[in-house]
Amino acid sequence: MIEAKDVSLIYQDGTVALKNINIEIKPGEMVYITGPSGSGKTSLLKLLMGMEYPTSGSLKVLGQTMKRGKGGRVRKLRKRIGPIFQEFKLIERRTALENVMMGMRFLGISPRKMKAEAISALKRVGLEHKIKAKVDHLSWGEAQRVAIARAVARKPVLLLADEPTGNLDQDNALNILHILNSFCDSNTAVVITTHATHLIENQENATYIRVKQGEISIERRGQSL
């Protein structure tokens, strides 16, 4: 599903974000990327989302080689990914429901089914009472849950979440992690970056990628891994 071989990412200003990393992520795998701020977690996720491209090495996501000049193919690939952005990237002046549906409109789903899936996703994240609320009027935590609903409603084969629990209280954070975890049962690979190591450290059946100064160490737990 994801295959990175000796991947490095160096930004134009010379900042080395990632150094010769090697990762393999399989369908249904739960992956946590942890590390201090500025360690390269988000850079790694951006590579997987096609928001950045490797400076060297080879990276394949869902069979697609991620490299500059393949923008059209990468955009098609994104339809199969459920991204959750750190800064949410919700569309202003739209309701929570409209935002969730916006992520599904170009997937060829009928409007009725789209609406039903979007409402169901909002219910899953506990926002059934905010369906018609404009996202501009939501709290930080609620907005984050709309972003999560938008990603999961797409029924992606790969979920990429950048700090999805960053603005949530412990109960909501655990609930969100539980929801994201549940996707692994349907063979969706879930990759999450997080600071909240206390919420995930006891979890079995997961892969932990620790990023430090652009380098990674991998710990796999559980029988399927």
């Binding site: 928001m51 955009r75 990914i81 409109r105 060829g108 409007p111």
Partner: protein, 296 residues
């Protein structure tokens, strides 16, 4: 295609949001486009009237062939038949001296009394030939060579001047149409770029979610086309008012000229302006969304 039909409502809603988001600026663009298209409509009207005049004059293009002195009436009638067979001749008729006198008397109107000063009929018999204006030169050349024809009188100068005026009007029309087209394209593409800039975060998010360019760009194309159509409707409305109020007065002043019927001309010009506005809006919007592709 399925995705497109599923999302028609969404596209319309997004287009209306784009329009409303920058409503004042868009309002001025609609007024500007409308006035430019109004100008184009005026030119098209002038063009249409000019063409109608030339066509009417072309149908009425007549030349007169005068006989040599020694020709008999029988020979003159033979010449009429010969002229009738020349390519480009619609009709040829023999006008005897009496008919020529009556014709000129009618033409002189109140001044006809002057003819009483002549003891004899001063007018000669001739052949009245109705021709196609485009074949005028060839027809006159052939007629002039016929045995028994002294000379051929034509109104070529007046017809050529009229044709020149209409041709100039056509050139001016094409230039104005070009200027209008380019100006409208610039206005619309600028408007669309502005809309894209205002919505750049949304566009970026849609890309990150995997939306294709067509999905992202179509609401902007729709908005641009709708705004230009509004401009076209404004122009059509102004033209309609102006033509309804002013056309009768103008044709009244120039009643000797064959003006086309107002309703027919007004409907045609207004429809054409609306079609042109939709076309320009669509093309202008396409230019506008190139900025999406560049930034993608």
């Amino acid at each position: 295609m399925k995705t497109f039909f599923y999302n028609i409502g969404y596209f319309l809603l997004e287009a209306s949001r784009t329009i409303r988001f920058n409503s004042l600026s868009n309002l001025f663009s609609v007024i500007g486009t409308g006035l430019i298209l109004f100008l184009l409509g005026m030119v098209l009207t002038g063009w249409s009237v000019g063409n109608q005049l030339v066509q009417a004059l072309e149908k009425e293009a007549e030349v007169s062939a005068y006989f040599k002195d020694d020709i008999s009436e029988e020979q003159a009638l033979d010449l009429v038949n010969t002229i009738q067979t020349i390519d480009g001749v619609q009709k040829a008729g023999y006008i005897d001296q009496t008919a020529a006198y009556e014709e000129n008397k009618n033409m002189l109107g109140k001044e006809a009394d002057i003819l009483k000063l002549f003891e004899d009929n001063p007018f000669e018999a001739y052949i009245d030939v109705r021709i196609n204006l485009n074949d005028m030169d060839a027809v006159i050349a052939k007629m002039s060579k016929l045995e028994g024809i002294e000379y051929v009188r034509d109104n070529r100068e007046i017809l050529n001047q009229l044709k020149g005026i209409v041709n100039a009007l056509k050139i001016i029309g094409v230039l104005i149409a070009l200027a209008v087209g380019v100006t409208t394209l610039i206005i619309i593409s600028h408007m669309i770029r502005q809309g894209i800039y205002n919505n750049k975060d949304q566009i970026n998010t849609l890309w990150l979610l995997g939306a294709p360019n067509g999905f992202v760009g179509f609401p902007f194309i729709l908005a641009g086309t709708l705004l230009t159509l509004l401009g076209g409707a404004l122009a059509a409305g102004l033209l309609s008012i102006l033509m309804t109020k002013g056309y009768d007065q103008l044709s009244g002043y120039l009643m000797f000229l064959p003006f086309p019927p107002m309703e027919e001309l007004r409907d045609k010009v207004c429809l054409l302006i609306i079609i042109i506005s939709a076309g320009l809006g669509f093309v202008g919007s396409l230019f506008g969304i190139t900025s999406i592709r560049k930034s993608n």
